[in-house]
């Protein structure tokens, strides 16, 4: 149920789709560090309720996977004007990551499985069009959790499946992060 590679997630299907001419981007949008993160706090409370008391902090972020006839500058514009709130959030466009070894921070991505309709997709496509950008052919939204604290990867994965995500509809990937 859990795949350990940070690169393999619900978006993988998009990346591998036959329309390979279209470019594929992933954008991570997170709250500015000085703002409280209620979603992260909620996840932390659930992990504590599940007995993982060694976890110290959870920060959350949104992640978008967008495919379409887009250039990198299009995606920067979209990220800045559409996907994030310039006053409260920051964004980064993800490249392939090298997992940092020995890190105590785990990065978890939770995506709806490809066969589950993502209600946010229509809105993302519409927003691109409204901003005068080329319309993507597809878009998905997922959630990222940065989990800080000493906990065995296997235990964490098992708990995530039971308390945070649902393996029936979600694909989850966890990997150490810098």
């Amino acid at each position: 149920m859990i795949e350990s590679s940070a690169l393999d997630n619900g978006a993988a299907r998009l990346a591998a789709s036959p329309r390979a001419t279209a470019a594929f981007y992933r954008v991570e949008v997170s709250l500015k560090r000085d703002l409280p993160d209620p979603d992260g706090a909620r996840a932390l409370a659930l992990l504590h309720a599940a007995g993982l008391s060694a976890i110290k902090e959870v920060r959350s972020a949104k992640i978008y996977a967008v495919r379409g006839p887009l250039t990198l500058s299009h995606v920067h514009q979209a990220a800045k004007e559409l996907l994030c709130d310039a006053v409260t959030e920051d964004y980064k466009i993800l490249s392939s990551q090298t997992p940092a070894s020995g890190s105590r921070r785990v990065r978890v991505e939770v995506w709806l499985k490809p066969e589950v309709s993502d209600p946010v997709e229509d809105s993302v496509l519409l927003a691109f069009a409204c901003a005068g950008l080329p319309k993507p052919s597809s878009a998905r939204q997922g959630t990222v959790y940065y989990i800080e604290g000493r906990v065995a990867q296997a235990t964490l994965e098992k708990t995530l499946v039971r308390w945070i995500a649902n393996p029936l509809i979600h694909r989850i990937s966890a990997a150490p992060s810098a």
Binding site: L112, V116, N166, L168, I169
Partner: protein, 822 residues
């Protein structure tokens, strides 16, 4: 399986998609048929499979895949309520009798016999419809549904789409009602439960929080006030939670009827069709064992909101003649339903807008993608309809037309996907026969045995435990997650009192803005009754208690229960188990007697059976037999509504109804860890007289506050009224009117005798109150409100039984869920 019946691509000329046929179906043995049904989650019985086989023999061909799926969906328990409509041999107390149809002999029978002229449509449409308001211009549609199986697998998505489904039922009631109130009731394992669970089971706390979030995210986005509901915790739900969603809507009187005509276009509106949730209808008849995996969906509330906005505009311009929603079974059930009403239909599935291009025709036919409706539209109106939906950014497409063929004919391009006789679908379902047994519980539990309570625990301790009990404690941390005031009609809110945090008995909706009328003060109230603890002892008395509770909640806010309507939701385990079915039958019999006794008809209902899950040991565990009663009644003048918080010190407190030593199934018995004797027995006739007297007093304005007595009895009710109003209460136990002699203060304070309401009466109008309410068989002054913020109880011996500061009681009552959710 010898006669392998599997997909055989057999492309018809010109068709893009391959056709899947159940080849060799006609030649299968009963065993082979059963195997086929099991493998494909058709949930059809042997008799049903044989009936289908003989039908296709007459047709002289094997069925297509889509046809077998259509039969399975259309004949499913979910769509046809087979248990409620088939013969049952019911044994009770050594006597066996034959019930031909539980539905016609209980719920529908009461409605028929009561023959209320204000019932405009009962049990036949997507929702029950009753008249509303004085003008005769409006009607109220009511519906409550369950979504248990999806919620057990994916509580967030399941609860959200459950609400979405019941809202579409209201949109499809008559020609469509505007939803003005949504409700949710959850039965879950206790939130502090950390005991080990079987693989794949969702922990109760997580399940509950996800379900609350699902309902909130969906309902809040739709803009329908979620202002009524309930939470019930008990171990019996830890593996199989129950999730109910309800909705009420207002429609013009002229829009109550609907009928499609030949030549009408069949139009699909709303979301696109994808590979979502195939087999929802049949799946709900399968016990949850982890292997059954329906594709669980995440709802798209904005799509539903678009349909809502466009549909009601189109309704007011009378652009369509029939509407139904796509729920379980998708197009297969919705279009077939339309065909049955209209006498036949022909559709072309290649016209349906899809989420994924690679769907097979039978998948399009069966998909349960959310947020879709089906309309019958006179061709001349199509253009106007298209404009309205386009303005709301909502897709519509013509799928086919109504024809007088007596058949449902489904094509995909040039390919014949299904062609079935409607007579076969409607009338070909063989009736299963079942056995049901009910064994009366030991007399100690139901009898009025003497009590020996207390066991050294003071009343104050019991009260404190009762207030903190998950089934009594404050629901504020849930209620505030719902937008219970959108539409500006919630005049009696779920949270009441000085600090807006007391537990209201029912909400009152004043749909002034929703109906676009600036004059008039007509509204309606809605409430629930639920008590599975009584059902474990005797489901008959549970049913009466639930109806009584729902109605007295309505009385507490001042609703006119002479025109109350009831909705039933039965959630039981497998009816194949005679004892489970026996308990269900007994509850249904209770519903009949309650409806007749209270002169209150059922207008709509739904049953959800097979609520069982295998535990860690592999044993299938049914849920406690659970009956949810939803009641709604008009509030003639919302300005006369009453809330439950004490208004001023120095006022007399009157207790309606007699108190007996009713402690079986009570909260007090649970807290003390005793079995408890005396199950509450409702006397509807006496109760009704009392309720009417209270309403007469409210109409004269001589009731300042009213609160019903339920779990935890008089003590809990008095405590809640006191701390919500921020004044004290003094009770005198020797003033309580008792049935039989009761010496125990615990019994007097915590008895759960039914039909009781505690009322605050203005001191300066007490005589008037007594005069107006004289019709009440039992109504006694049992205490006074006081300025000192304490709850003070004087015992039978004149000594103090308890004296508790209300702030401390409130703190106990408020912390349980807040802490569980933190």
């Amino acid at each position: 399986m010898k006669n392998a019946v599997l997909a055989t691509p057999k492309a018809a000329p010109g068709a893009e998609a391959p056709q899947r046929t159940a080849q060799g179906f006609l030649g299968l043995s009963a065993k082979g048929l059963a195997e086929l049904s099991r493998k494909n989650i058709w949930s059809l019985s042997e008799a049903e499979l044989l009936a289908a086989q003989s039908y296709f023999k007459k047709e002289g061909r094997d069925p297509t895949w889509a046809e077998m799926e259509t039969v399975a969906q259309y004949w499913s328990e979910h769509c046809r309520h087979k248990t409620f409509n088939s013969p049952i041999d019911y044994s009770e107390g050594g006597r066996t009798r034959r019930i031909k149809s539980l539905f016609s002999e209980t719920l529908a029978k009461a409605t028929k016999e009561l023959k209320k002229p204000w019932c405009l449509s009962t049990f036949k449409d997507n929702a029950g419809i009753v008249s509303f308001g004085k003008s005769g211009k409006w009607a109220l549609a009511l519906k409550a549904e369950t979504h248990n199986h999806p919620c057990a697998l994916e509580p967030y998505g399941g609860a959200a789409t459950g609400l979405g489904g019941v809202v579409r039922d209201i949109l499809a009631a008559g020609l469509g009602a505007k939803p003005v109130l949504a409700t949710d009731v959850f039965c879950f394992g206790r939130p502090d439960d950390r005991k080990p669970l079987p693989e794949g089971a969702v922990p109760p706390l997580r399940g509950l929080l996800s379900a609350i979030a699902g309902v909130g995210d969906y309902g809040n986005r739709l803009g329908i006030p979620l202002a009524a509901g309930g939470l019930y915790f008990e171990d019996g739900y830890r593996l199989t939670p129950l999730v109910f969603a309800g909705c009420a809507g207002i429609l013009p009187r002229w829009a109550v009827g609907k009928a499609a005509k030949p030549g009408d276009l069949i139009v699909a509106a709303g979301g696109r069709t994808g590979r979502d949730g195939i087999h929802g209808a049949t799946f709900s008849s399968v016990e949850l064992d982890g292997s059954a995996r329906a594709a669980v969906q995440i709802g798209h509330p904005i799509n539903e909101k678009k349909i809502l906005d466009a549909l009601l505009q189109a309704r007011d311009r009378k652009l369509y003649r029939f509407v139904t929603d796509c729920g379980a079974g998708g197009f297969a059930c919705a279009v077939t339903e339309l065909a049955v009403v209209a006498g036949g239909a022909r559709v072309d599935l290649s016209k349906a807008p899809l989420k994924a291009a690679d769907l097979e025709p039978w998948e399009i036919w069966l998909s349960e993608s959310q947020e879709r409706m089906v309309l019958a539209v006179p061709p001349a109106n199509l253009r106007a309809l298209e404009k309205i939906f386009a303005d709301a950014s909502c897709e519509i497409v013509v799928l086919g037309e109504v024809v007088r063929s007596g058949r449902i004919t489904v094509e995909h391009g040039g390919l014949r996907v299904a062609d079935l006789s409607l007579d076969f679908l409607e009338n070909g379902l063989p009736r299963a026969e079942r056995k049901a047994v009910w064994r009366a519980p030991a007399a100690a539990k139901t009898g009025k045995a003497a009590l020996n309570l207390g066991a050294g625990r003071r009343c104050a301790e019991i009260l404190s435990a009762a207030l903190a009990h998950p089934n009594v404690c404050s629901r504020e941390s849930v209620v505030r997650r719902y937008d219970y005031e959108v539409q500006a009609g919630t005049v009696i809110k779920p949270l009441q009192g000085v600090k807006h945090d007391g537990p209201g008995d029912a909400c009152v909706i004043w749909p002034r803005a929703a109906v676009g009328e600036t004059e008039g003060f007509a509204g309606f109230a809605l409430s629930h009754g639920l008590n599975p603890a009584y059902g474990k002892i005797d489901p008959y008395w549970m049913a009466l208690a639930c109806v009584d509770e729902a109605l007295r909640n309505l009385v507490c806010v001042g609703a006119d229960i002479s025109q109350a309507s009831l909705l039933d939701n039965f959630c039981w385990g497998s009816p194949d188990n005679p004892e489970v079915l026996g308990s269900l039958v007994r509850a249904a019999l209770g519903c009949y007697d309650a409806a007749m006794g209270f002169q209150t008809p059922f207008v709509s209902g739904k049953d959800s059976l097979f609520n069982e899950t295998k535990n860690a040991a592999g044993k299938s565990v049914p849920v406690p037999g659970t009956l949810l009663i939803t009641a709604a009644a008009p509030v003639r003048d919302v300005r006369k509504s009453v809330t439950m918080d004490i208004k001023a010190p120095g006022n007399p407190l009157y207790l309606l109804g007699p108190t007996a030593a009713d402690l079986a199934g009570s909260l007090c018995a649970e807290i003390l860890g005793i079995e408890g004797a005396g199950l509450p027995h409702v006397d509807p006739k006496a109760a009704l007289k009392g309720f009417r007297a209270v309403l007469a007093a409210m109409d004269k304005g001589v009731v300042l506050s009213a609160h019903d007595l339920s779990e935890g009895g008089l003590a809990v009710t008095a405590a809640e009224m006191a701390f919500s109003g921020e004044f004290g209460i003094r009770l005198e136990l020797d003033a309580i009117a008792c049935k039989g002699v009761i010496y125990s203060p615990e019994a007097l304070l915590f008895s759960e005798s039914p039909s009781r309401i505690l009322l605050e009466v203005p001191a300066d109008r007490e005589a008037e109150f007594v005069r107006v309410a004289k019709g009440a068989p039992v109504l006694r002054c049992v205490g006074r409100t006081i300025a000192n913020p304490i709850l003070k109880v004087k015992g039978l011996d004149g000594l103090s039984v308890m004296e508790e500061p209300i702030a401390a009681l409130k703190a106990r009552w408020q912390k349980t869920l807040t802490e569980a959710f933190a």
